[in-house]
């Protein structure tokens, strides 16, 4: 018996088990490869490596951060020659931030300890050799890097120069001031602007109807004054850092002056410890997550896009869930089986296969122009008439994006809900009806709670699809740069009519529309990573809820 076991104990289909796992392995490899690529590339946005000073054959030098190495185009395949890409920064002087250098041209590479890395509000990063620091009071400090100490074991201990601490302090101060100015410019002046807008519309209306306008013009005047005051205040504040700057030279020996007001971050790439680099990394990550973008979105943070994606996805789920569930209940429980129902089912299922851009076109044509236009005419006619025909809902916005995606993901929810309803044991339905419950009571009290986990599965799928969708959003309300968030402190807090930023569109915009594709590349990966993480988090949240619900039905199998 035992001897022949190898033949008899293996069921016939068994050898194919590994074959089915092959599919899984292929899938997993692809996912892992994608994640790895995104991780490695996205990570380079945050990491600050050493910055070499590269000497070339012709005697010139460049200072720049190594980006990548590749086989030089046109080099013979038998004897490949490489070239390297460096990010040299100082776009205003070098006209480009990135250069390719033929490896054969490189004669020497050294890490100058004085090299200072600067992340700036404008024109990208800069790598310079600082000479003099002028602080905010106008006092000059020479920039000297003392020799590092080397201990008996030969270990290198960098010394923090007072010069660099000074730079740090000045940058911190400049950042604080910049934030204060931004607060005035965006929030306070924004409020005044909104009020002015309203008053102007009211004024135009009053003029049109030949009503007294004195009060309104007076109000407008006070608002103008307030506006000017705030502007002045902002100027005053920004003057506080106007003096401070760094003077230095670039790789070509040209002298550069960089005001502290324009510096976001300063670091010494060739002197900092690993711990410092990690600190810098976290500081950059924090900016990435919580700050607004700069420099045509290629730098700074993604907060508005993260926020926009989240709000849109949640809002979409809130729209699609009730509609989908109600539709499914009707289809499953009330509609009479027949050719009509079958056609409707086929249509619903086919809806899932329609390219998403088609939904975008529909959203623009129907939601934005027809629905939005009607809403504007009915409720915002004053605004239209007295505000140069500026539409409120008759243009792309959060509401229309959510609605379009809700429509797109509707089949997923409908199908999942129908499945979940069918999966409720027949006994439960019969027990409820036999107890004298009406059909609706049975659906509400028994069927819906019991199918909640299945419905949530559908919602999870819908959310995952909705959060990653870009094409339809581009035409119904997502923009490259939105001045405001869809939720803020201004009544009515949730601004359904506002345009907003979205991670998916951000990726598209960075990758394909950015003027400086080299500068945008790491950002594309970092944003992709973030989008993936966001979708995973949303899903995990929904899955947790689903598992909680499922736990309630655990004993159901007896």
């Amino acid at each position: 018996m035992a001897s022949s076991s190898s033949d008899n104990s293996t069921p016939k289909g068994e050898p194919w088990v590994w074959f089915t796992s092959l599919g899984l392995i292929v899938g997993l490899t692809m996912v892992a490869g994608l994640l790895g690529l995104v991780l490695i590339n996205g990570f380079s946005v945050f990491w600050a490596p050493q910055v070499p000073t590269v000497k070339l054959k012709d005697g010139s030098e460049i200072i720049g951060q190594f980006v990548q190495r590749r086989v030089r185009p046109n080099s013979p395949a038998s004897d490949p020659q490489y070239e390297r890409q460096y990010q040299i920064g100082l776009r205003e002087l070098n006209s480009t931030s990135y250069v390719w250098v033929d490896e054969l041209n490189i004669t020497d590479e050294k890490f100058t300890r004085e090299t200072l890395g600067l992340e700036r509000m404008e024109n990208g990063p800069a790598f310079i050799i600082p000479k003099t620091i002028v602080d905010s009071t106008g006092k000059q400090h020479p920039f000297i890097v003392p020799n590092a100490t080397v201990d008996s074991a030969g270990k290198f201990h960098p010394i923090y120069t007072t010069a660099f601490s000074l730079i740090r302090a000045e940058v911190d101060q400049a950042t604080l001031i910049r934030e204060r100015v931004l607060d005035i410019n965006q929030n306070k002046i924004g409020l005044v602007n909104a009020e002015m807008e309203e008053t102007r519309i009211a004024l135009r209306r009053a003029e049109d109807r030949q009503e007294p306008t004195v009060e309104l013009t007076d109000k407008l005047k006070t608002l103008d004054l307030k506006f000017a005051e705030l502007k002045k205040e902002a100027e005053e504040i920004s003057k506080l850092t106007a003096l401070g700057h760094i003077e230095g030279i670039d790789a070509k020996g040209r002298s550069v002056t960089i005001p502290f007001a324009g510096i976001v971050r300063a670091w010494e790439p060739n002197r900092m410890t690993t711990l410092d680099r990690i600190g810098l990394m976290f500081s950059r990550m924090q900016e990435f997550l919580f700050d607004a973008p700069r420099e045509a979105n290629t730098e700074g943070g993604l907060m508005p896009a993260i926020f926009g994606t989240l709000v849109m996805t949640v809002f979409m789920s809130m729209l699609v869930t009730p509609v989908g569930v109600i539709a499914a209940i009707y289809l499953k429980e009330y509609a009479k089986d027949g050719p009509v129902l079958r056609v409707v089912r086929i249509c619903v299922n086919n809806l899932a296969g329609v390219p998403s851009i088609v939904f975008g076109v529909f959203g623009l044509g129907f939601f934005v122009y027809v629905l939005g236009g009607t809403i504007d005419q009915l409720f915002f006619s004053d605004q239209l008439k007295y505000n140069n025909n500026t539409p409120v809902f008759g243009t792309g916005g959060l509401l229309w994006c959510s609605l379009t995606l809700a429509l797109m993901t509707l089949p997923v929810v409908i199908v999942a809900t129908e499945e979940a309803l069918s999966a409720v044991p027949r006994g439960m339905r019969e027990a409820s009806l036999a107890a004298g419950a009406s059909k609706w009571q049975t659906i509400r009290d028994i069927l819906l709670p019991a199918s909640a986990p299945g419905i949530l599965t559908g919602v999870i799928l819908a959310m995952a699809r909705g959060a990653g969708e870009v094409a339809p959003l581009m035409i119904v309300g997502v923009v490259k740069l939105a001045p405001t968030l869809p939720i803020d402190g201004l009544a009515p807090f949730l601004h359904l009519d506002r345009k907003f930023m979205h991670l998916g569109f951000h990726i598209y915009d960075l990758g394909f529309q950015s003027p400086d594709s080299d500068a945008a590349r790491p950002m594309v990966f970092a944003t992709t990573l973030l989008l993936i993480i966001l979708v995973v988090c949303l899903n995990l949240g929904a899955i947790t809820i689903r598992n909680r619900l499922r736990a309630r039905f655990k004993g159901a199998s007896f």
Partner: protein, 267 residues
């Protein structure tokens, strides 16, 4: 023990209406398939009637027609009539819901809702719109007591009903079925998934419930039919072969088929 199945219970007082449920020339189709051939029988008030017969003979079909549970099935058709207290259950003026509130049902496979024990029991009252907590509490306790489950669950009324044992669940389903005090209780093989002790409890229960309810029970166990019922109906291939007092059916059946079935020669 060997002749236990012939120890029919003595007939209880017969003061109730003899044609409490009256099935008149009733025939039934699932689509084109005739499941019940035209049959007539009267079920007296506050008695236990057992339906017996081999599998697929139409016991459940008839039982499920008494509270129109078969309405859920597509393409059904019936002929003849069923009357409860003289009123046709197909009377267009009678709502199915109110019929089902008067006719409780216990299923073969216990089917508690994934809710708390308490909510399970008071479900029928809730759907009737009862909100008064005292009334619900009272109904919950009485029906659980009647279902002989109260002592086992009184401390965990708010626990999920799916955490009960199979037998407890079935008794819970009985409690649920009697909570709104129906007049009739239909039981479709209520003990088929239970051990002898739980079965014994439920049989005792049936005996007690008889004082208030008219009970129709489908069973595959001759002994059970003999133990709990006053009258027994024997079905075969969709046909009512014999309907008489349980004593008569088991001791002295009128038909050869009945005799063959209860003596275990087929089925």
């Amino acid at each position: 023990m060997s002749n236990a199945r012939f120890q029919a219970r003595p007939a209880t007082d017969q003061t109730g209406r003899p044609d409490f449920i009256s099935i008149k020339n009733f025939g039934f189709w699932y689509g084109d398939k005739k499941a019940l051939k035209s049959m007539s029988l009267d079920i007296p008030e506050r008695q236990v009637v057992a339906f017996i017969g081999p599998s697929g003979c139409g016991k459940s079909t008839l039982l499920r027609n008494l509270n129109r549970m078969n309405d859920l099935v597509d393409g059904i058709r019936h002929e003849g009539d069923i009357e409860i207290k003289g009123q046709s259950i197909y009377d267009p003026g009678l709502e199915v819901i109110s019929l089902r509130r008067r006719v409780g049902m216990v299923f073969q496979k216990s089917n508690p809702f994934p809710k708390s024990i308490y909510e399970n029991v008071v479900f029928a009252l809730r759907v009737m719109g009862v909100k008064n907590r005292a009334v619900l509490d009272e109904a919950c306790e009485t029906s659980l007591r009647k279902a002989a489950l109260w002592d086992e669950v009184k401390d965990r009324l708010n626990d999920n009903a799916l955490g009960l044992s199979g037998g407890q669940m079935q008794r819970l389903c009985i409690a649920r079925a009697i909570a709104n005090r129906p007049e009739i209780l239909l039981m479709d093989e209520p003990c088929s998934a239970l051990d002898p002790i739980a079965t014994g409890k439920i049989e005792e229960l049936i005996h007690e419930l008889k004082a208030q309810f008219t009970i129709v029970i489908v069973t595959h166990s001759m002994q059970q039919a003999a133990r709990v019922s006053d009258r027994t109906a024997f079905f075969y291939l969709g046909e009512l072969i014999e309907y008489d007092t349980t004593e008569k059916i088991f001791m002295n059946p009128g038909q050869a088929q009945t005799e063959a079935y209860i003596s275990g020669r087929f089925g």
